[in-house]
Symmetry: C2
Subunit: 331 residues, 2 copies
């Protein structure tokens, strides 16, 4: 029989790493607010705590992981700069962290990335390099450019300091509101989910950690239940932050070890949850950011009254698109 302590010691991220990340983030990342709602509590018959990472710097939890990773680079690595690939929230998080830490940053984005996202990333001082999806893969291009420039690649989720940084989200939530019975966390590549699960296992051992994916991008859910890495090809979901093809080599074992359950929600449920948060909590949340809320509102949890934490992960909606969301939801 394997010794459980030994298994855990082989995993690449531990609770101590999250504590160290929290110390690095103090005074730089926002201690984001926890919102509650009478309407939600009455409707769900639970006591619900929304951890609002849409109010985090750059508009999502991604700043935690990016800043934690970049603040640990050596002077030589800093000089070479940081490179990543992302058309979304990780790009802005790396760009702002670079600005704050005075580290040059380069972001590889597909040519068809929304111009507002390109502009936001450049606005933080990053160099943006566009590529043609048909001609190159982002990982290949990143490796090539990093070698040429002697730059460090910080990927969006499959990287230990990124996971540790994201885990500070759950740590802060539990420190603010006390123990929980359930924590609902959205899942793309699993960086936020695995980091939060590690923190929960330490701070609220009996709390069930549940990951939530879009139905059409259910790679982690299928991987979790089959215990075998499964992937999806370019999933067609409005949750653009959860369009990752598969869990990571690093996040997958962490999810298997620490996460209790995976759930999926439809895009329609996601839009309902998103507009519910806009209408009732008066907060702007992006579709991916409403995944955990959708699982709660769709009644996917047991009915026994419980203290439930919900991570609202980001608020970077392209507002020029809201007409489409509105038409799709309100008809």
């Amino acid at each position: 029989m394997t010794n459980p302590a030994e298994v855990l010691s082989n995993l690449p991220v531990a609770y101590d790493d999250i504590v160290a990340a929290a110390a690095r983030l103090t005074g730089t990342a926002h201690l984001t607010p926890v919102l509650t709602s009478r309407t939600v509590d009455e409707q769900t018959r639970h006591q619900v705590f929304f951890k609002c990472e849409n109010f985090q710097r750059t508009g999502s939890f991604k700043f935690r992981g990016a800043f934690n990773a970049m603040s640990q680079l050596s002077p030589e690595q800093r000089q070479g700069g940081v490179l990543t690939y992302s058309s979304g929230n990780h790009a802005q998080a790396i760009a702002l962290s670079g600005k704050l830490l005075e580290i040059p940053t380069t972001i590889i984005m597909p040519k068809d990335a929304p111009t507002v996202k390109q502009a936001a990333t450049r606005g933080y001082g990053a160099e943006v390099i566009l590529y043609d999806r048909a001609e190159a893969t982002r990982e290949g291009l990143a490796r090539q450019l990093a070698a040429e420039r002697n730059a460090t690649v910080i990927p969006p989720f499959d990287y230990a300091p990124v996971v540790a940084g994201q885990g500070t989200t759950a740590k802060e939530l539990i420190e603010a509101v006390g123990s929980l019975d359930v924590l609902l966390v959205c899942c793309g590549g699993g960086g936020l989910l695995s980091g939060c699960a590690i923190a929960v296992r330490e701070l609220a051992p009996h709390c069930r950690v549940i990951g939530v994916e879009p139905e059409k991008g259910d790679d982690v859910t299928r991987s979790f239940y089959t215990k075998t890495l499964q992937s999806v090809h370019n999933p067609d979901t409005i949750a653009d932050g959860a369009r990752t093809a598969a869990p990571g080599n690093l996040t997958f074992p962490l999810i298997l070890e620490y996460v209790d359950e995976m759930l999926t929600v439809s895009d329609q449920a996601l839009l309902r949850a998103m507009f519910f948060l806009w209408e009732r909590l008066k907060i702007v949340v992006e579709p991916t950011g409403a995944l955990a809320t959708a699982a709660l509102l769709e009644g996917l949890l047991p009915q026994t009254e419980a203290r439930i934490g919900v991570v609202v992960s980001g608020g970077n909606v392209d507002l020029s698109q809201i007409g489409q969301y509105s038409a799709s939801h309100f008809g």
Copy 2:
């Protein structure tokens, strides 16, 4: 020469009334958050404090005035119930206050009021009576019904306890952040503006209080500068909370006495400000709720660095309409 103290003593609302209102609201109204933004401070070169009444119960500051007024009714008045006319935020504020205080409420709304607003008001337990704008005036209908039912009419702004309740907004803001150089407040009928101005005069005597109206509904601005009550007929502005025809008999003298300046902003500036708040602060604000922010962002204030309070007055957007707002703003 008139004794200034004597003039003030003839006015219908004084700072003491606001202090009394604050005591009545404690534990029932939300102590709404004050948000700050690095982006806004850098862009405007001021230090800006947003008092976020979109997070108030029922989604706007109107709850303050309604609850303050209704909690002062005698047992006999409570039995007769409360009646008002509004298709907007005052309706929901009266309805919820009635629910909390166990006072029956009746709201007179035009037949063409959005069904979501009718539903929200009924959701708080109010009776909604619809009327045809072509056949009756809301004030006439209210008087007739109130007489039949022995009910008390609590109008949306031209009523001393309502003004005193709204004034607690500025009191809370200054108590939270300290003195201010400028306070920007939106203006419809002037209940919020006059209440806030009275509080400011007491708590931050040198602070300039500036009211902000939509260009097309500039009745208070013209009345203020001509010192004569002016009106507009059914102003065509997206700021639906500021479509009032004229300042009130009660609010107008208060505005003349306590307010320093009036400004107007275009509907386009209002949409820019609204989407700016959604995008950067991640908060849902209705068009009327962005009036004060619009005056700030359009650069209508002197450039000298200052501590500026901005009241974000409400967040009740009909989200099924956001496609239109988006199309109008983003093109």
